[in-house]
Amino acid sequence: MDTLTTFLNSFLPEGLATLIVILLKIIAILLPLILAVAYTTFAERKIIGYMQSRMGPNRVGPKGWLQPIADTVKLMFKEIITPTRSSKVVFFIAPMLALAPALAVWSVIPFWDGGVLANVNAGLLLILAINSLDVFGIILAGWASNSKYAILSSLRVGAQVVSYEIAMGFALVGVLMVSGSLNLTEIVRAQSGGLFGWNVWPLFGLFVVFFISGVAETNRAPFDVAEGESEIVAGFHVEYSGMAFALFFLAEYASMILISTLTALLFFGGWLSPFGTSMDDIPVLGFLMGDGFHWLLLKAMFFLFCYLWFRATFPRYRYDQIMRLGWKILIPVTLVWIFGEGVAIALGWQPWL
């Protein structure tokens, strides 16, 4: 990357070269991400298919591998219909508002040591803040559609996301108490030292709370009351078609991948290898077993699989049960855990040192 910058600097004004390099980095992050989103939809249909003793999509391309491409092409050529008496501007801004935060968050995610677009000091806070903007897309989509089902769904989502954000924020407080930093790279570095250095062990309760509220934040099953098919047709995106509908899907899956990656980074040591540095001296095996991007990918993929697994396993929560779980169980758990953690840090107990 540095050689590219110096090469561009040789014939371009300084600001422009920096801008081009940043844009290239953004493309290098977003293109694989969008590809990952496309194939997550494929993986979801396949995995849930096998869990329900079906084959899943297997007609387009070898073993169905071209299915996501076919879906995208189909969605792109579909007509976009606007409901009558809807507010047109908001109707089209809403899907963009849903997608933009889901993509913007990736700017502060480190993929390996130093492999990050913007190494921000308050990275964790920034993620929380941008993530909280996700909900606007859904709320506005519901309102702009001029449809009763859509607005019911957006009211549900608003209440749910605001509630679970609190639990999620508290879980993050626990993480930053242990690592003493809001910078994601620092948080991962603080977990070095092999499998038992990871944050899951001292913060197991917070990990569970974080992942549950992550599932709720992304409106995935079993917390998908926003699109409860049996109650409100398809929820906030009933009136959307074509690419506008696809943007909501893109946003949802990008957030899913984000929550999985964050869980891996915050609690499972990110790119750190579970074996620590013990095998670094072995020639080929050392490269595979040492720290690297592949570990982050593996961990994130596991949590992404959990998302699909949940969807195939759990029935949908009732709305009042969601509220009870968020306010009466998850938030008290985090509060007690953080208090205990604070005492332990003050007394200097080992796992938190």
């Binding site: 000091n121 806070l125 929380l128 506005l140 009042d320």
Partner: protein
């Protein structure tokens, strides 16, 4: 003009435009949306000032939570704009009076000695103002901070107590009772002899 200055002007222009639109927009939902935009761009200006903690918290608290609830309420209200606009000319003089008073007060405050101090030296880039803020909040200003927290809790409890009402005869599930049920409450296993099929006698 440096790049930073350019960004500053862009954000300021957007902030001013959206702040004006908050007042002039006909539809209250649009007004709320412009308020969100105003918050967001001012947060961006704060980040430009290297006050990243404040900027992020502005987005997190106001945009991410307060405005969501705001939109919630506005979306559910059926607002008739004609009635709102009624008597505009009648209240106009009073409105102007209030506006002038507020503007005069703000100018007086900004001109006062508290704000008339030299601009402090910018902190070095690698220092974290989140940490600095936390340190000062929990040492020097610990009592005001804690008192503010207690007042907020009191306000929350008061708001809940004021709006909480129990209606008689509402048919809804009691979650506590649902969770406490055991198998024995619902299921009864009966031992009985097998009966002969019909016509087998």
């Amino acid at each position: 003009m440096t790049f930073e200055l350019f960004i500053f002007y862009v954000f300021s222009a957007v902030t001013l435009f959206s702040a004006v639109r908050v007042v002039t927009a006909r539809n209250p939902v649009y007004a709320a949306l412009f308020l969100i935009l105003a918050f967001f761009t001012s947060a961006a200006t704060w980040v430009l000032l290297e006050a990243e903690f404040l900027g992020v918290v502005l987005v997190l608290v106001y945009v991410g939570a307060v405005m969501v609830l705001f939109l919630f309420v506005i979306m559910m209200l059926d607002i008739n704009i004609d009635i709102l606009k009624e008597g505009f000319t009648r209240y106009m003089p009073l409105g102007i009076l209030v506006a002038v008073a507020v503007a005069a007060e703000m100018i007086l405050v900004m001109k006062s000695k508290t704000f008339d101090r030299p601009i402090p030296e910018a902190a070095p880039l690698d220092s974290s103002n989140t940490e600095a803020l936390g340190e000062i909040l929990y040492t020097e200003y610990v009592y005001p901070f804690e008192i503010a927290a207690v007042i907020l809790v009191v306000a929350i409890i008061a708001a809940i107590a004021l709006t909480l009402r129990r209606r008689e005869g509402v048919k809804k599930q009691d979650q506590g009772a649902q969770i406490r049920t055991r198998k024995e409450d619902r299921l009864r296993i009966i031992k009985m002899k097998t009966e002969a099929k019909q016509g087998e006698r």
